[in-house]
Amino acid sequence: MQTKLKVDKAVKAILLVSASFSILIVISIFVFIFRSSLPAFKEFGIQGLLGELTWRPANGMYGILAMVVGSVMVTLMALVLGVPLAIAAAIFLAEIAPRGVQAVVRPAVQLLAGIPSVVYGLFGMVVLVPLVRRIPVTGNSGYGLLSAAIVLAVMILPTITSISEDAIRAVPRSYKEASLALGATHLQTIFQVLLPAAKSGIGAALILGIGRALGETMAMIMVIGNSVILPAPLDNNPLTVFLSQARTLTGNIAVEINYASGLHASALFATGVVLFVLIMLVNVSARAIIHRGNPSAG
């Protein structure tokens, strides 16, 4: 008995150590990336990195504002393109689709989730970019925000769909029955009862989608053009801003890390810090909003 209890204690200690690893990793990721970015922050200050548009390492200019704008813009565009479709698909799967149809749609969504991002990037390069290039605007190369946003919209769709579907399914059956008994149609029930009740889950789905969009790297560098510019309209039509090339924070790191040394490398780690902070901000603020809207939600 004594030895058994000793084993118990030992195991508990081992498990405790393995549990601590996750927090250890978080801390070391932060420490290492932050430490490596310190030289750049010391040299240029937060203002010099985050407040400047020009990224020209050869000339000692390391502004990453254009990349922040690029990342945010392409993410927002992907949300606009992808979210309606994703939530429609979720409602369809949870409420409307007959069993047989579900058995076709759900694996399709699952497969979309599993396709490697390089495959999406390649598809974007050889299929989407030439299509987008057909839009007759001077200076439109096909590589740019629009192509990237379409690719990204498809990539975040499965995440948002499957989590939203779960959220809608998790709404107690009695809500739906009560609404239908009161004479509401199925459609009214969906929009006025189920969706409001599932809003915290759908919110969580959106956050994960945003996180995935902000963090996507390989597919982005393959289709967005990687130019370090503030996206701007190509001609008098303001809509052509969507055809502008851009660079994302993730792309900045992946494209240049292998060639960088010294301050340049440090500035790339600073890019990583900004990305890290941006994603933490999205997560924390969105979680706060969800909790305020629905205090009962875990």
């Binding site: 990687n226 494209v255 060639y259």
Partner: protein, 269 residues
């Protein structure tokens, strides 16, 4: 649970066994410039066919990584497609530079582009954004899409030095790609694109322009008619010894230099 653990341990030990089993021969690691990489890959294949027990790992990463890897000893040999910088030589004073080939940098366009020749000034103006339409240089009325390598690339550094000069910068709107291959892919699929590309990457998917009448060929580059040429270097920390020396000897042998020529670069011997 136990089964799972046992399975995992088994997998791990199998892996280690598999990894360990082939440990017999010697390994040589080469890291660095993506421009030199394909050439080094070919040379490695040639060397390995003569020395069966040697395995050579050729990794990309870029010229700066190559210099650093050789200097810090994380790789046996570094690759660089540009001259070694002063600060790098200060950091790694034992670094030895071996010029294994010379490489021209071609200015390439889409194969269907009717333009065949540009002057150095025109090229500079196109890449800096002063000339924005192909009609200004005798082509069709279409906007020019400038494609370039990213900051830090050896090819870009060499192009900046040899073509752009001190004052001109590559325009901000340029599409940037992180390897020669990616540049070639973009140019071959973008009708109005222009870019600079290592000679080793030239094929029918892009069209190399002549510069002021000098065609982008190895002969012209070798006898100085073609103006944009830079060295391809292998770097070692200290004098090469043992297998590293054997490999370098092979590179400078008649067979090695024949491979250099066959791959579209200019031999040094």
């Amino acid at each position: 649970m136990k089964k799972l653990l046992i399975a995992l341990v088994l997998i791990a030990s199998l892996l280690l066994a598999a990894c360990g089993a082939s440990e017999a021969g010697e390994t040589l690691s080469i890291t660095g410039s993506t421009t030199v990489q394909p050439l080094a890959e070919k040379l490695a294949e040639g060397f390995m066919s003569q020395n069966q027990d040697v395995q050579i790992d050729v990794q990309g990463g870029g010229s700066s990584v190559g210099v650093k890897a050789a200097g810090e000893g994380t790789s046996d040999i570094g690759m660089a497609s540009r001259d070694t910088k002063e600060e790098e030589l200060n950091q790694f004073p034992n670094l030895q530079v071996h010029v294994i080939a010379r490489d021209g940098i071609a200015v390439v366009v889409h194969p269907e582009n009717p333009v065949n020749d540009l002057t150095l000034d025109q090229i500079r103006d196109i890449f800096s954004g002063k000339i924005v339409n192909w009609s200004e240089v005798g082509g069709p009325d279409a906007a020019i899409t400038v494609v370039a390598r990213e900051e830090g690339s050896g090819t870009r550094d060499a192009f900046m030095e040899l073509v752009m000069g001190k004052d001109a910068l590559i325009m901000d709107n340029a599409i940037l790609q992180s390897s020669n291959g990616a540049i070639r892919t973009v140019v071959s699929t973008t009708p109005n694109a222009i870019a600079f590309l290592s000679f080793g990457y030239l094929d029918e998917s892009t069209k190399a322009l002549s510069i002021s009448g000098a065609a982008a060929t190895e002969e012209n580059a070798a006898n100085g008619i073609y103006p944009v040429v830079r060295p391809l270097n292998l770097l070692t920390n200290g004098a090469p010894e043992g297998i590293v020396k054997a490999f370098l000897d092979y590179v400078f042998s008649a067979e090695g230099q024949a491979t250099v020529r066959a791959e579209g670069y200019i031999p040094v011997k």
